[in-house]
């Protein structure tokens, strides 16, 4: 049912944990499922350097957080702000239709963290 990638990220989640002195952080929750995700980011200039996270939720929600932390490492801020659930789902090799919403939590927690960044550029 789940792709290899989902199962791999579920079994071996990347970049779990907090960042002491993160440049920004945010916590978000899927109100229907109750899944929770906290993300911490280090940012330098116009790029995300590192994302770390902690999550409580279903397997694809965990996998989505994990793959997102890989995707955004080194990513220009502008691109990270535009990162949407479709792109995360794609990076997971797809999700079953009824779990497609699992990527949304990762996308929204990331966006929330980025939104609270002191607005340095532009």
């Amino acid at each position: 049912m789940y792709s290899e990638a989902v199962i791999d990220h579920f079994n071996h989640p990347r970049n779990v944990g907090e960042i002491e002195g993160a440049d920004t952080e945010a916590e978000d929750e899927n109100p229907i499922c109750g899944d929770r995700l906290h993300v911490w980011l280090r940012v330098a200039g116009d790029r995300v350097l590192e994302m770390r996270w902690r999550a409580e939720g279903c397997a694809p929600a965990i996998a989505a957080a994990s793959v997102t932390s890989e995707l955004v490492a080194g990513m220009p801020l502008q691109e990270a702000r535009a990162l949407d659930r479709e792109r995360i789902t794609e990076a997971l090799g797809g999700l079953p239709a009824r779990k497609a919403h699992a990527s949304a939590l990762a996308a929204s927690a990331l966006r929330k963290a980025l939104a609270s960044l002191p607005n340095t550029e532009t």
Binding site: Y2, I7, F10, N11, P13, V16, E27, I32, C33, G34, D35, R36, L37, H38, R54, A55, E56, G57, C58, A59, A61, I62, R98, K99
Partner: protein, 367 residues
């Protein structure tokens, strides 16, 4: 030689000699099933599964009595194959349905049923044992009440059949649903016991099969398999129950002793011997299922997002569990072929998984 004709050849209600074998096999299965539950063979109807049995029972009695009776009673923890037909009675026929709550232990109080009874109550439907939390309902007490008032009682005994004694000579139940596939029998075939004289409006109409109580060419192979599976399950009931109970209790004790932040859902004594239902703080049921599944262990959960629907278990909700507890619920069912080693391995896998998942969480659990 059977030059003619595939049609009647295939049809066990036809009069031809070639069909006699099929007919005889069905009759033997009917006798077997009847013997399992203390019924007469003529009171056994074969259906396409327990869902059909439940639909047929609820709608069958209600429609037969609809002109004078427009009220029905059931409980909050029934299978959807009872609850949804009840909703149909409301939507299509203007019935009022009283859904009686259960206690925090997942058991209905017969007094609550009694208070819900009305002069126009067409039927009462209460399951014998629950499929999610394994709780056993006081059907004997309820049957005594409904019988005294002449109200037909339907009991969904799908989960009970393998583990509890069902003797309809002593318990005045009027309709009873059974399914062989929970007892290692074939899928897509079920049984409905219909006590002689019970008001009846058939769900499937057409040919005169099953004495006009359920039309349609019979699934001969499925029926034969059902008879075998049910009678074997009844023969082995005590042995299988004792074995399941020993394994289940071992599993439960080791989980409760070894894993912090665990609670049991549903009564611990009035419960099927093969069922465990837990909530594990701070982990999502769906993640537990996947982790167990990857280790070759099958379980289920009452969390939303696990069942194909997005609704959390109505059974766990009926116990008054908070959302978190429903979300983190896990059901383990001990099967006929399980061993003590498998129980131990399950605890180890579960322990490792829970520890790992809690370690991912933004909150701190049991540390």
């Amino acid at each position: 030689m059977e030059p003619f004709l595939e049609d009647s050849f295939a049809n066990p209600s036809s009069i031809y000699r070639a069909a006699q074998d099929a007919r005889a096999a069905i009759d033997r299965a009917r006798d077997e099933v009847a013997a399992c539950i203390g019924a007469a063979a003529a009171e056994i109807i074969f259906t396409g599964g327990a869902t059909e049995s439940n639909n047929a029972a609820v709608k069958g009695v209600a429609l037969a009595r609809r002109q004078t009776h427009r009220h029905a009673i059931t409980t909050a923890i029934e299978h959807h194959a009872v609850l949804h037909p009840m909703e149909e009675l409301e939507a299509l026929f203007g019935f009022e349905v009283t859904v009686v709550p259960v206690g925090a232990n997942g058991i209905v109080d017969p007094g609550e049923i009694e208070r819900a009874l009305r002069p126009d109550t067409a039927l009462v439907s209460v399951m014998w044992a629950n499929n999610e939390i394994g709780t056993i309902q006081p059907v004997e007490a309820i049957a005594a009440m409904t019988r005294a008032r002449g109200i037909p009682l339907h009991v969904d005994a799908v989960q009970a059949a393998g583990y509890l004694t069902i003797d309809l000579r002593t318990v005045p139940i009027d309709l009873l649903s059974l399914s062989a596939h929970k007892l290692y029998g074939p899928k897509g075939t079920g049984v409905l016991y219909l006590r002689r004289g019970t008001p009846w409006w058939p769900l499937l109409t057409g040919g005169g099969q099953e004495r006009n109580r359920r039309a349609g060419t019979e699934n001969v192979a499925g029926i034969v398999g059902s008879g075998k599976a049910l009678s074997l399950a009844v023969q082995e009931r005590e042995r299988r129950s004792a074995q399941a109970r020993a394994l289940r209790d071992h599993l439960m004790t080791r989980i409760l002793d070894g894993i912090p932040g665990v609670r049991i859902n549903g009564d611990t004594t009035h419960r099927l011997p093969n069922n465990i239902n837990l909530s594990l703080d701070g982990v999502h049921g769906e993640s537990l299922l996947l982790g167990l599944d990857l280790a070759g262990i099958m379980a289920s959960s009452g969390s939303a997002c696990t069942s194909g629907s997005l609704d959390p278990s109505h059974v766990l909700e009926a116990l008054g569990l908070p959302d978190e507890a429903t979300r983190s619920s896990l059901r383990l069912t001990v099967g006929r072929d399980n061993t003590r080693d498998e129980m131990d391995r399950t605890v180890d896998v579960l322990h490792g998984l829970v520890t790992r998942l809690r370690g991912l969480s933004p909150a701190v659990y049991g540390a």
